[in-house]
Symmetry: C2
């Protein structure tokens, strides 16, 4: 078989690269090779177990790809020859390509804990068959223990506790979500999880998982024994880079090395998504960020640049824009948090605000919104922002991401014209992000 | 009495000018003179009658002003002497000032229809006593007829119909909301109003209002007689400029003339909000836009520039960012709509998208999002955008406003990193505004 563009991996970054390539280069044949019969929405996985109660409902349809004429091959690429531009599949077939895109994703990091191999201990994999087994086990259980209090762990805890399971969430760091938020925001999420009945164990380590064949309990370093019918390992992920390494591409521990156009060390090979190394927008250090939103932003750029470089279509650094929810509380973060800004030596000021997300506050369903924004002390350039509030936070945090990418300053942001509506936004007299900016501005220019 | 800064008018623009002045010039004394004992949230007025069932619940507290040390005088300025910098109050007192800010707002335009003077025919005024009388009349009624299908009329119709009143909405133009949205978006709002039981009469004129002392019916040009216990006149507003005119300031039919710093023709007098003329961001023509969000954007700029000009703090033209809701449908618009772009001679392309606001779509409460974006055909600069969907539209439309003010192009916007979450946003593979931008990009650069 022969194709112009070969995309390895069928997740969000593979899909978006293929669709963008078809849009930009309609004459080119584009082929995706993926292992899974169908693809799940990766960010939807935590909601399979309490809300959706079905793996199929968390499916990404192939319709969009088929409509645009993208070929889908369900198989696995086991070897790449970049000299002859050939991919060998497990099924025996070979695919000749002109351009190659690695969208091979990531796999769970399994912590070296005794007992992780017991039945009903599940890492979080994007494979539908694995998720079905997990769903079956959870539906037959009562007590679920989650190891790892990052986004995935917290979202599992939220969804399972809301559905009535007895949930314990264990986190090594002093707070859940501590890599993405400053303490005061982590604490809001913790309070909300407790309200939902989740037992939190933070700043503690799991020493072993106990059970005969099936898991029975998780034991903490202080000796506490948490009875568990199911254990979920939400302990991070690492990039799938074996294929790239074997093919001789440059790879770091953060992923396949890429430039601003998402090109690898081989001129005809691109890498996008979880398997590709990122560079932080501000620290300029390599890192890995595993978010479908980042993956698809890269995919839009890679897909557009496959055959012809458009100089503006560059990834100028990964801002990292996160949003999550716990019960009716939504949280968002973009760019640097204060803990990282301090650690990395940034000269910064902080502005905060506390407003309501409807006006007047007497309207039903009004939530408090808390905003914390970080700016360079000199010049007042945006460095980052964190928001907590109702479900409109998911879009509101994108304004901060935008301000970061546009290189905006606090003074410029204060000029921003904002639309408001009683049911949809904070009041025009106190827009959350503008109030926090105004607070910071006073520190940037004290007189 | 003597003050450094005198603000005439206690609505959102007056409040925000006063607070900004206190923030920027803490040593200056700031005084607001207003007629009302307390101030209502102007955008909340339509929700007093069905949702809040109380005028007091739609109140803006004076606490923020008092905490910052702003003086509040409840009285009315009846004369200004700009030479001696003196304001005379109805109560007889005089206030000497150094800087003056006119935030005198607007008043309803009463259409020249026979019968508008009948009892239970109400224009929409921001005066609490007037609103209380209106609430009482509505609560004793069954049939409410609204004349005027702009934002105010539509929001009244939504709130009253949702609360069980029999509502008829009459609009002169072929569609409701036709000054702010293109037809396809107006039609979504119309369908939703009909779903709520609102009787729509569009493209028709009221010829008279009938009744003895109290209103009994509204008669349309085709002879239809709509029985009405209460009639609401939502037929627009005009700027309150009498005081400014009498004082010799330059005034147009759109309001008090101001420059980019919101200064009037007198160097120590500023004007903000509904009473001030605006200039359209794109057409550069004068216009009046009566939105609290626009008024407060101006107030933030005027307040900062009262004593010292900061060159960046300028109003570079009014983008006009609107958001509203009908039932569970939210609508947003920013910048030019297609109808205006065409009429004004812009060379433009349109990009559209249709996605869901949650992912997977099987999640409870998912709404369809429709986006329509307008760009210059050459260069792809943002000209405007319209959105319809769930309640996150209110924040999402601010992204388009931001893109307009930042002078972004479609190509730049395609690079945008966007945060996503299953419950909070459209999928990372299909963010509403990026998909519409991509659609437009294909038309801007066909190959």
């Amino acid at each position: 078989m022969k194709t112009d563009v070969l995309v390895i991996g069928g997740g969000p970054s593979g899909i978006v690269t293929a669709l963008t390539a078809k849009q930009r280069y309609p004459g080119k044949e584009v082929t995706i090779v993926r292992r899974e019969g169908y693809v799940v929405v990766p960010c939807g996985i935590p909601y399979i177990f309490g809300t959706l109660k079905s793996v199929e409902k968390d499916r990404i349809s192939d319709e969009g790809l088929k409509k645009k004429g993208v070929n889908i091959v369900v198989d696995e690429v086991i070897d790449l020859n970049l000299k002859s531009k050939k991919a060998r599949l497990r099924g025996g077939e070979e695919i000749l390509f002109d351009k190659l895109v690695l969208a091979t994703g990531s796999k769970p990091s399994i912590p070296p804990i005794k007992g992780v191999e017991l039945r009903n201990v599940f890492p979080v994999r994007k494979d539908p068959e694995h998720l079905k087994a997990m769903l079956e086990a959870i539906q037959g259980s009562e007590r679920v223990t989650i190891i790892g209090g990052g986004f995935i762990g917290v979202e599992f805890a939220d969804d399972l506790a809301s559905a009535g399971y007895k949930v314990t969430l264990i986190e090594l760091l002093p707070h859940i979500l501590a890599l993405s938020f400053d303490d005061e925001f982590c604490e809001l999420a913790e309070a909300k999880l407790r309200e939902l009945g989740v037992e939190l164990r933070t700043g503690t380590k799991v020493v072993r998982i106990e059970g005969k064949e099936e898991v029975e309990a998780v034991v903490l370093e202080n000796g506490e024994r948490i009875k568990s019918d199911v254990v979920i390992l939400a302990t991070g992920a690492k990039p799938n880079t074996e294929l790239a390494e074997k093919a001789g591409l440059r790879v770091s521990r953060y992923g396949v090395e890429v430039d601003e156009y998402l090109r690898t060390s081989h001129p005809d090979v691109f890498a996008v998504g979880d398997c590709a190394e990122k560079r932080d927008f501000f620290t300029r250090k390599p890192k890995s960020v595993m978010l479908a939103s980042v993956a698809t932003a890269e995919a839009r750029i890679a897909g557009a640049n496959l055959y012809k470089i458009t100089s503006f279509r560059q990834m100028r650094g990964t801002v990292g824009i996160f949003a999550t929810k716990v019960g009716d509380l939504a949280l968002g973060a973009a760019g640097l948090i204060e803990r990282v800004a301090k650690r990395e030596g940034f000269d910064y000021v902080v502005g905060t605000s506390k407003v309501l997300d409807k006006h007047p506050g007497a309207l039903p369903g009004a939530h408090e919104v808390r905003a914390k924004l970080i700016f360079t002390r000199h010049g007042g350039f945006f460095l980052g922002g964190q928001l907590a509030g109702g479900f409109t936070i998911g879009e509101m945090i994108n304004l901060i991401g935008f301000a970061i990418e546009a290189g905006f300053t606090a003074a410029q942001y204060m000029n921003l014209q904002i639309g408001t509506h009683p049911f949809l936004t904070p009041p025009p007299t106190a827009p959350a992000t503008l109030k926090a900016t105004e607070d910071a501005l006073r520190k940037i220019y004290p007189d």
